[in-house]
């Protein structure tokens, strides 16, 4: 599937990104405050979502507005499989009997969620992957809207717009870190696999790629399914991080924030995806901290409410003005002495 030499040449990227994530986790442990811990959990979840998004968007060049639908599917799998059977009977009486009786641990639900989301990615993808460009984007959005409309109204199986509660809350940071690391390594492995390379070739030179025998819809479908699985896993963990799930959590808000993180970080590279999350999240957190007020000697300085969002939007515009391809451009993090090799590698220059 992948040549060992490519793997050796590019392994620095996921390792460096992984170390960065571990550093975040260690900071959270060192600080030891519960809210901060929750903040870092939230960042790891965003890393999972954005990396999942990158697997498809970054490699295929097709902007997807629909990936959060897979997170929604995954989020509800967590509700279906981990809530106590008695509570499930009350909120979601329409579930089939065997599912009603199922009660598995959170990591099991995350895996099932990945599989369930991948299945639907396969079904939707086999129809949608024939489209490209803006038509594909809007079709993925229609997919999100369909999933949202169904999950918002299917009373007996999803409890409609009502929050489903009773999902075991996992407040430990480690499972989220592990999941984020898994997504980074899966995304990297996919990126350097035969399919990932083919898809990127098709992104940059569609005509030439098709002429070289690359089946573009199929290459896209593979990326779609893998990214769907990552989103599904992230969705399930998101449910476990706050203990409730509703369809509108997984709709336009999350879609736009994850896409923004991807584009601001630089959708051309995996490092861009991860750094986009880390940089924007840090920025958001700093602004929130300023908004809550900072004690400077006798006086408390605080930004007026709402400035945080305005500043965030302005900073995003500024970043894109000066770095239209995102903070990382098309480059990946790598060790300095390998940089030269890197540019000739498969993740090398792109337009």
């Amino acid at each position: 599937m992948m040549s060992p030499s490519v793997a050796r040449r590019t392994i620095a990227t996921p390792v460096l990104l992984g170390l960065l994530l571990i550093a975040f986790a260690l900071v959270a442990v060192a600080v030891g405050s519960k809210p901060f811990n929750q903040t870092v959990i939230d960042i790891f979840l965003k890393v999972i979502f954005v990396v999942g998004l990158w697997v498809f968007v970054g490699n295929s060049g097709v902007i997807s507005f629909g990936h959060i639908a897979f997170a929604c599917l995954g989020g509800y799998v967590a509700a279906w499989t981990t809530i106590k059977p008695m509570m499930k009977g009350m909120s979601m009486p329409g579930l089939p009997d065997w599912l009603m009786q199922t009660e598995i641990p959170y990591w099991g639900s995350a895996m099932v969620a990945a599989g369930w989301a991948a299945l639907w990615a396969l079904i939707f993808g086999s129809v949608l992957m024939r489209l490209s460009g803006i038509a594909a984007s809007i079709a993925t959005f229609a997919m999100l809207a369909m999933v949202n409309s169904i999950y918002s109204n299917w009373e007996s199986v999803t409890a409609a717009t009502s929050s489903v509660v009773g999902i075991p809350i996992i407040r430990s940071i480690w499972p989220y870190l592990v999941a984020a690391l898994i997504s980074v390594f899966v995304a990297w492995a996919y990126g350097i696999s035969r399919h990932g390379l083919a898809l990127r070739a098709a992104r940059d030179e569609p005509t030439a790629a098709a002429a070289s025998g690359i089946d573009i819809p199929r290459a896209r479908l593979i990326a779609f399914v893998i990214s769907g699985a990552i989103m599904g896993m992230g969705g399930a963990l998101y449910s476990h991080s706050i203990g409730i799930v509703t369809p509108d959590t997984f709709y336009l808000g999350l879609t736009f924030i994850t896409l923004s993180m991807l584009v601001v970080g630089g959708m051309g590279s995996l490092s861009g995806a991860v750094l986009g999350v880390l940089i924007l999240s840090t920025l958001i957190q700093t602004l929130r901290w300023l908004e809550a007020g900072v004690q400077l000697g006798e006086i408390t300085l605080a930004l007026p409410g709402g400035v945080q969002e305005i500043a965030l939007g302005a900073v995003m515009i500024l970043i894109l003005m000066f770095r239209p391809a995102g903070i990382m451009g098309n480059k990946d993090l790598s060790l300095p002495q390998r940089a030269a090799l890197e540019t000739r590698g498969p993740t090398g220059p792109r337009t």
């Binding site: 809007i138 809207a145 923004s260 007026p304 965030l312 939007g313």
Partner: protein, 304 residues
């Protein structure tokens, strides 16, 4: 007969809203390949321009009490000015960026506008009585149609004819059409790019203002999120109409309005809540069979 006629008017008036929105998005897409996600927030801003900033529950009317012949131009001017400001301050610097970057930039800009409104007016929806005379029903062939529906349809038709004449008959319109077909070529042939793009933004902003007026008088509310749902539908209409094709955008806008209305009428009560799922399903079907849109503009290259 009466109720059939009513359904027709319902579909036409909803379609008009979507068509006006789609036109606003298609105009800008045509000249600079930008999918403008800030459009919905421009709509909201136009409605809020009628109020004084205040976070109280009761809205303080500012321009909302002007007589209609002053009110309408005022709102249109606000929309056009805001839209041109967006172009001058932000989008101008993204001329050469790729569409994804522009899209996210427009989204970020919309975010800024929305939260700015939120800061000035708070999140509570404000009530305004905009053009109250339009809230009366009129009798046509046994159907009682709200006057506003008729006006909406009439205004949309007028805008469409006016815009067509403008694009066909004036030099500026010609330049704009040329730019929409092939921007680089048009530029080489002496079309002044900045002027054309400015013009497109001004028109698009005025269209947003027209939607704001209709929505404002229909719902009686100024709400931060009010442009969002129209914008989404308009965006979809632009795509299934064929990106860059103005006629296609309008056609698709009316089609979406008709599908949504007809679904509401024919679906059984239990399935009615799933109306949007059916509408979006139809959108996917159209895209599968006509990926280039219903009427695809010549010269529209895939760039996303």
């Amino acid at each position: 007969m009466g109720s059939l006629l009513q359904v027709l008017f319902d579909a036409l008036s909803l379609g008009s809203l979507y068509a006006l929105g789609a036109l606003g998005i298609a105009l800008i897409f045509g000249v600079m390949r930008l999918v403008n996600f800030a459009h919905g927030d421009v709509i909201a801003a136009c409605v809020f321009a009628l109020l004084w900033p205040s976070v109280d529950a009761v809205a303080i009317i500012f321009a909302g009490n002007l007589p209609w012949y002053l009110l309408v131009p005022f709102v249109l001017a606000i929309g056009a000015a805001l839209s041109v400001a967006c172009e001058a301050l932000v989008f101008r610097r993204f001329r050469h960026a790729n569409p994804a970057t522009m899209m996210i930039a427009s989204f970020a800009l919309g975010f800024v506008i929305r939260y700015f409104l939120l800061m000035l007016f708070s999140s509570r929806p404000k009530s305004i009585s905009l053009l109250p005379a339009l809230s009366q029903p009129v009798e046509i062939l046994g159907a009682r149609i709200p006057l506003l529906q008729l006006i909406t349809i009439a205004v949309t038709m007028a805008v469409l004819f006016g815009l067509t004449a403008f694009l066909r008959r004036t030099r500026f319109g010609l330049e704009m059409r040329a730019a929409a077909e092939n921007f680089t070529m048009a530029r080489m042939l002496g079309v002044r790019a900045n002027r054309v793009i400015m013009g497109a933004f001004a028109l698009s902003g005025a269209l947003a203002a027209a939607i704001a007026l209709i929505l404002g008088s229909q719902t009686g509310t100024a709400n931060i999120m009010m442009g969002a749902s129209v914008m989404l539908m308009a965006f979809i209409a632009t795509v299934i109409g064929g990106m860059g094709s103005l006629a296609g955008a309008v056609l698709a806008g009316f089609l979406l309005g008709a599908v949504a209305t007809v679904m509401q009428v024919i679906l059984p009560p239990d399935a009615r809540a799933f109306r949007d799922a059916f509408v979006y399903g139809a959108v996917i079907l159209v895209l599968i069979f006509r990926p280039q849109g219903l009427l695809s503009a010549r010269g529209t290259r895939e760039r996303v």
